[in-house]
């Protein structure tokens, strides 16, 4: 049983560019949550997708957007990248809108130069 997968593993972008990160949830899970983890810090909640809609959102600007597909996989898009967007981006999948235990993927390390 494959766990949560994320791609790519690492990414380097320059300021002002746009980036798309991808996540495939664990089999049987229908909810995907995205978190941003700055170096040496705890993860911060970005948003959660369920039934192809954004259900909850953390304190992140509109430059951060997402999508969930019918197969429950998800994308995180960040526009107009800033240096401060450099972080590890974690995807977590779960059942029942996050009420069940959330399982994390290995993350995508984004570096903005």
């Amino acid at each position: 049983d494959a766990g949560v997968t994320q791609s790519p593993t690492h990414l380097i972008k320059t300021r002002g560019q746009q980036v798309t990160l991808r996540c495939s949830p664990k089999s049987g899970h229908d909810t995907v949550s995205w978190y941003q983890q700055a170096l040496g810090q705890g993860p911060q909640f970005i948003f959660q997708y369920y039934e192809e809609e954004e259900r909850q959102r953390g304190n992140f600007p509109d430059r951060f957007s997402g999508h969930q597909f019918p197969n429950y996989s998800s994308e995180l898009n960040v526009n107009a990248l800033l240096l401060g967007d450099s972080a590890l981006y974690l995807c977590a999948s779960s059942k029942d809108r996050g009420q069940d235990t959330q399982y994390f993927g290995p993350g995508t390390r984004l570096t903005v130069l």
Binding site: Q41, F45, Q56, A92, G98, T101, R109
Partner: protein, 120 residues
């Protein structure tokens, strides 16, 4: 808003010894869940243990156990018989329960983390 505080940035323990990691949280809700996650250098966040607020019994998973003090809003993790593989960053996390009302019951709120070093 809920907050989670881990006051120990770093802890160390000798192999085979016991160590306790501290966590406090602030909430006005009665329906919630608490978690300890482990993040080794490989970056994969792994669930260690989970505690439902309505359960008075402390959760236990093999060598890992918690001391859940609901009135004091304290949730510490005890690791017994520490192993080299336990070395990692440990995060305490909070999640509202569905019965707390509203719709924001799926997000996890994390503490700042505690780096655990295990000495052979």
């Amino acid at each position: 808003a809920q907050t989670v505080t881990q006051s120990q940035p770093e802890m160390s323990v000798q192999e085979a010894e016991t160590v306790t990691l501290s966590c406090t949280y602030d909430t006005s809700e009665s329906d919630y869940y608490l978690f300890w996650y482990k993040q080794p250098p490989s970056r994969q966040m792994i669930l260690v243990i989970r505690q439902e607020a309505y359960k008075q019994q402390n959760a236990t998973e093999n060598r890992f156990s918690v001391n859940f003090q609901k009135a004091a809003k304290s949730f510490s993790l005890k690791i017994s018989d520490s192993q080299l593989g336990d070395a990692a960053m440990y995060f305490c996390a909070y999640r509202r329960g569905r019965n707390a009302g509203g719709t924001s019951y799926g997000k996890l709120t994390f503490g700042q983390g505690t780096i655990l070093t295990v000495h052979p």
